[in-house]
């Protein structure tokens, strides 16, 4: 059982909520950051989102979390139009995210970082604290509960970021490059942690990542973007052999999963 009491669709259960983006277009002035992108995310799956730098991955996450209004297109949660919701309202609807830059509340303690994320559900401070403590335990961060978030090292900072996103009791967590700057051992830990999220916390994961090892080990489906468009979508095996993906993503030089633009 997950530690959060949420209606959830486990791997074997019913499908749960669905977050859908259809034909999303974002233009900044004359430049299109996204043009007609689709995305579908179920509450019990982990979907990878990859593509070279500037492909529009973060912009898509910003659209899904309300930080960027789409110029055109639909964003829906179980048929509910989300386009006019503000970020904090989307968080309350169960769409949560992490940030590339971490963005922890640096002068608050780690526990307070998680606690504050639970308030929008209307629980008391004590309940929020209990949830936070349980989450910290699950993420193996109990030892740092009382430290200020700004004093953590990089790997722990990332994990607190994930914990904070989970503390909002989300249906979906969108993770923006959680493995950047991590070493191999840390990445493995991270994969284990992310892979367990749908079953443990009952929420779907959208994973933006450059590290192909993390993506291939954690995701059931992968969506590839380039130049603001979706160029492929499918199972990991199909994706790494897809000719268009290899052309766009790895360049024409060679086609191993370890080389090419933006992969570290």
């Amino acid at each position: 059982m997950g530690i959060l009491d949420l209606p959830r669709g486990g791997p074997s259960g019913y499908p749960g909520s669905r977050l859908i983006a259809e034909g999303v277009t974002v233009r900044f002035g004359g430049v299109s950051a996204l043009s007609g992108v689709d995305l579908e995310l179920g509450q019990s799956e982990i979907v990878g989102l990859i593509g070279p730098n500037g492909a529009g991955k973060t912009t898509l996450v910003n659209v899904l979390t309300g930080f960027q209004r789409p110029t055109q297109g639909k964003v829906e949660l179980d048929g509910l139009d989300l386009r006019s919701d503000k970020p904090f309202q989307l968080a309350a609807r169960g769409i949560s995210r992490t940030f590339q830059a971490g963005r922890l509340f640096r002068r608050l303690t780690v526990r307070e970082n998680l606690e504050v994320a639970g308030f929008h559900t209307g629980c008391t401070r004590r309940q929020a604290r209990e949830t936070a403590d349980r989450l910290l335990e699950e993420l193996d961060l109990t030892a740092f509960a009382g430290s200020t978030a700004g004093s953590l090292n990089y790997g722990h900072e990332r994990r607190v970021g994930i914990g904070r996103a989970l503390a909002t009791k989300p249906k979906f967590v969108l993770m923006d490059e959680p493995a950047s700057g991590m070493n191999d051992a840390e990445c493995e830990e991270l994969v284990a942690c992310i892979a367990g999220i749908p079953a443990q916390f009952g929420c779907g994961v959208l994973l933006i990542e450059h590290n192909m090892k993390v993506i291939l080990n954690a995701c059931e489906r992968i969506q590839v973007m380039d130049g603001g468009k979706r160029i492929a979508m499918g199972k990991p095996k199909a994706i790494i052999t897809d000719a268009r993906v290899r052309a766009a993503y790895f360049g024409t030089r060679h086609a191993t999963a370890a080389g090419g633009n933006g992969i570290h």
Partner: protein, 358 residues
């Protein structure tokens, strides 16, 4: 029984940061009352009122990280409100002919008058906050400054109820050192309760990172509006105290000078903690008192040496600049005082001890 006792100890522990601020104030008031001259007693009373001012500012500025320059406007609103209700029943119908009929011929007892005035200040903060709290950072600072000017212009020209630029005199002076002490303690408790509440924690999260705060479901507008309203009410209380301490009221008492002074106290003490607000008032009040004495002149042997008027303000500005340049986090530097005096150990704003990160 044991559980109850543990609970009590637990509460006592949680209240330490507050008690450690209030107890010294009580001692200062006691000493001043027992042994101080009238001058000292007045200075202590005034410092206690300033604590209400700066703690009021801290509730919003400290927790939100947004600099508001409009706080003194709410002091003015409450000060006039209490004056209209309690002042000079004989003169009122003539000098404040614009007051509504029921106010013109009625004198309200002190306590309800003060409550109404505080509520009015809170309401004014709420209404102006509906607009101003949509602004962030520098824009918020400018917007709140504009509010201060609007209130100042309005009150100094609204002759029929504020007597314009001239002073209202004869306001009953019921504020003793004990009333000021009670208000200072009360405002410290309110600020502390707010700071450890859910809304307070959420507001501090917005201070650390506005974008991440929204992403975890916090409405920046609502949390700031709440704090702005509470802050406005506490500042209103300070305004009421000023009116009934000095017995005189003029709109320019609540303008740039006081705005700068109170902001200096908050900055010098450290705007990141409640202790900073109190320490700022105490330390700058001492400096000001010292230079006031020097301006009055002291006898050095046969000759009387005195500093020219204005020196006290010069020193204040220099201290403020030095703090901004060399110790921007202020004297307290984001820390609350805990028992035993472990000021150098980092402590979260809830007074919870922080373990060193491994």
């Amino acid at each position: 029984m044991i559980a109850a006792r543990n609970n009590f100890i637990c509460h006592l522990k949680a209240a330490t940061p507050v008690l450690l601020l209030i107890v010294p104030l009580v001692l200062a008031a006691l000493l001043a009352d027992q042994f101080g001259s009238i001058g000292v007693l007045r200075s202590v009373t005034e410092a206690l009122i300033k604590i209400v001012v700066v703690v009021g500012l801290y509730i919003f500025i400290g927790n939100s990280g947004v600099i508001s320059l409009g706080g003194t406007a709410f002091m003015a609103i409450a000060a006039y409100a209490t004056t209209w209700q309690t002042c000079c029943s004989m003169m009122k119908p003539m000098v404040m002919s614009g007051l509504p009929e029921f106010l013109k011929h009625m004198t309200v007892p002190f306590a309800p008058a003060a409550l109404i005035a505080v509520a009015l200040a809170g309401l004014a903060a709420f209404i102006s906050g509906l607009v101003l709290m949509r602004l962030s950072g520098l824009a918020a600072a400018i917007g709140t400054l504009a509010l201060l000017f609007i209130v100042n212009v309005t009150y100094s020209n609204w002759d029929s109820v504020t007597m314009g630029a001239s002073s209202v005199v004869g306001i009953p002076t019921y504020v003793t050192v004990w009333i000021a002490l009670a208000a200072a303690s009360g405002s410290i408790v309110v600020a502390y309760l707010f700071q450890i509440s859910r809304a307070g924690l959420a507001l501090r999260a917005t201070r650390e990172d506005e974008i991440a705060a929204q992403a975890v479901g916090i409405s920046i507008f609502r949390t700031r509006l709440l704090a702005f309203t509470i802050s406005g009410a506490v500042l209103g209380l300070a305004g009421v105290l000023y009116a009934h301490f000095l017995g005189v009221l003029a709109i320019d008492m609540f303008f740039m000078q006081l705005t700068f002074l109170s902001l200096s106290m908050l900055v010098v003490g450290g705007m990141g903690s409640l202790a900073g607000a109190v320490v700022g008032v105490v330390s700058l009040s001492l400096v000001i008192e010292l230079f006031r004495t020097l301006e009055r002149g002291i006898w050095l042997g046969e000759t009387k040496a005195s500093l020219p008027a204005g020196s006290q303000e010069l020193v204040l500005a220099v201290i403020m600049l030095c703090i901004l340049i060399w110790r921007r986090e202020g004297i307290m530097g984001w820390k609350e005082i805990t028992w035993p005096f472990t000021r150098h150990q980092p402590v979260s704003a809830s007074g919870e001890k922080i373990e060193a990160a491994a």
